[in-house]
């Protein structure tokens, strides 16, 4: 027969064991992340030079930078956001507004499927349509594939957050004689805006590192591009090609580019957290 003290001791032991196990799980989960970040940081810093951001790729003599690729990544992500965010937000509002209609269910299902599709497939489809159609690689084609990858994320985030807006606010707006589209834009979107902004930034951060779909859409370019209708260099694709290169200086530059890319993604995540903080609740 167990006494009260016995049970107390067992309970204390199982508590200790559970704490140790969960602490170990945290370490196991964090270890790869810390290892990856520190490895990228160490290797990247060694090759990080001002020239990296100011000079074009140099020919076989070595040196030079990837200034055009840094600009290219930013340009492509900006273009993709311009296309993906408005469409995604409006689609998400539609889903939330007509949540149980057949069309909304179908669109929601498609968005979920699209979110799970390997990004290289999106690249192939854009290659077959835009690139083949224009008969050339282009920054625009790259941006289109990134926008397609952003779309389901933005749509579903908006959908989920718009549905958290209290029904009482919708009723208030309906009772004020507001038409449905104005309720969606001026009440629902506005109320859910902080969360949606954060979710949108996460979607932007997510496509920042996409490489596969750019390989056969934006491709690469050793020179400055003046138009999104030309092949455009990006850091991601540079990393890919430089890693394959036999030259040591290019390997270094690939590490440096990786560091810049990781920094960009981390900044976007930080911005996302800031944006999703509700200005009304932080006083």
């Amino acid at each position: 027969m167990t006494t009260r003290t016995d049970r107390y001791v067992t309970r204390r032991i199982s508590d200790k064991v559970a704490s140790v196990l969960s602490a170990a799980a945290v370490v196991a989960a964090l270890l790869p992340l810390v290892a990856l970040l520190s490895y990228v940081a160490i290797r990247g810093f060694r090759a990080l030079t001002p020239a990296l951001f100011t000079e074009l790729p140099a020919p076989a003599t070595g040196g030079g930078g990837i200034a055009n690729a840094v600009v290219g990544t930013v340009e492509l992500v900006a273009l993709a956001s311009l296309m993906g965010i408005p469409v995604g937000v409006l689609a998400g509002l539609f889903l939330a507004e007509y949540r149980d209609s057949v069309l909304a269910r179908a669109v929601r299902f498609c968005a979920d499927v699209l979110a799970g599709i390997p990004s290289i497939l999106v690249g192939v489809v854009v290659y077959a349509t835009v690139v083949v159609g224009m008969k050339r690689f282009s920054g625009l084609a790259g941006a289109v594939s990134l926008a397609i990858l952003m779309l389901p994320l933005v749509t579903r985030t908006t959908d989920e957050l718009a549905r958290t807006v209290p029904e009482s606010l919708r009723e208030a707006a309906i009772a004020l004689g507001a038409p449905r589209w104005r309720i969606a834009l001026q009440v629902i979107l506005r109320t859910a805006a902080p969360g949606i902004r954060g979710g949108v930034m996460l979607a932007v951060a997510r496509v920042c590192g996409e490489t596969a779909p750019l390989l056969f859409t934006a491709f690469d370019n050793d020179f400055w591009t003046t138009s999104p209708l030309e092949p455009t260099s990006t850091m991601q694709v540079r990393i890919f090609f430089y890693t394959l290169s036999p030259r040591d200086d290019r390997h270094g530059q690939a590490w440096a580019a990786a560091l810049v890319l990781v920094a960009l993604v981390m900044i976007l995540h930080a911005v996302s957290r800031r944006l999703s903080r509700d200005p009304r609740s932080s006083s």
Binding site: I174, A175, G177, A178, P179, I183, V187, R190, A193
Partner: protein, 266 residues
């Protein structure tokens, strides 16, 4: 003994005009019938109180008066509601226009949390695509009408949600009044407020009755007796009795009304 179905009451005040009138109004939520064959006049520039125990259909009734009932999925109505003698359920009537003429204040204050006090007052106009020429004038006049101006005139940029419950409810009333409705529906406007805030809303109702036709749903018989000119007693989705408030509360003709107002049930 008593009548088996609610009988259309005689017009209680022949000299007064009827602003709205429900005629044989029946309402359902899916298969569940919430209202049964209601015929009831709403006299212009008078306060009509709707009382009855929980679930008697009083909220459903007022929500049929501005076509808010049909917003709930599966909800439908039969019968008709007349506004100035014209059906609001006719096929060519846009419910959006009806809702601008028949304003509504809800049980829980629901100002728009992302908008300032000023923007809340103007929200109804802006949501209808109307930008007032002189917004400052509209805001002041409307807040004065809602007896809120003196309390918030120095804080118009503060969020509407930062006000107290009673102030929020008066802000919601102001938001309605800014649209210059003809009828004001109030669905238990004081049920989440303390007695002082409640007294202020009741005072406000007294002031507003000259300009609006008011319908107030209330749980409190004392409140109905204090604010209303006419009172309707609903029970199990039926209109049991409708009369001048003083008559209904002192000499009810239906035993069920008497049981309710004497506190025997509900």
């Amino acid at each position: 003994m008593n009548t088996t179905r609610s009988t259309p009451p005689p017009p209680p005040a022949p000299e007064a005009t009827t602003k709205m009138r429900a005629e044989g109004l029946t309402a359902w939520f899916g298969e569940k019938r919430a209202l049964k064959d209601i015929t009831l006049p709403l006299v212009e520039h008078r306060v009509t109180a709707v009382i009855g125990p929980s679930g008697c259909g009083k909220s459903t009734f007022v929500r049929c008066l501005n076509r808010m009932h049909e917003v709930v999925p599966g909800a439908r109505t039969k019968g008709d509601v007349l506004l100035d003698g014209r059906s609001i359920y006719a096929r060519d009537v846009d419910p959006v226009r009806i809702r601008r003429r028949v304003g509504m204040v809800f049980q829980r204050p629901n100002p728009f949390p992302t908008m300032s006090i000023r923007d809340n007052v103007l929200a109804g106009l802006r949501l209808s695509g109307m930008e007032p020429d002189e917004p400052a004038v509209v805001v002041e006049e409307t807040l004065r009408q809602a007896a809120l101006w003196d309390e918030v005139k120095d804080a118009l940029d503060r969020p509407g949600g930062a006000l107290s419950g009673g102030q929020q409810q008066r802000l919601c009333i102001a938001r309605c009044l800014a649209l210059e409705p003809e009828v004001l529906l109030m669905d238990e406007p004081c049920s989440s407020l303390d007695p002082i805030a409640t007294a202020k809303i009741e005072e406000l109702i007294h002031e507003l009755r000259d300009r609006y036709t008011i319908v107030i749903v209330t749980h409190s018989m004392q409140q109905a007796a204090r604010v209303s000119d006419f009172t309707a007693f609903f029970y199990l989705g039926e209109l049991v009795e409708y009369d001048h408030a003083d008559v209904l509360f002192t000499k009810p003709s239906d035993p069920r009304t008497e049981d309710y107002i004497t506190g025997r049930f509900g």
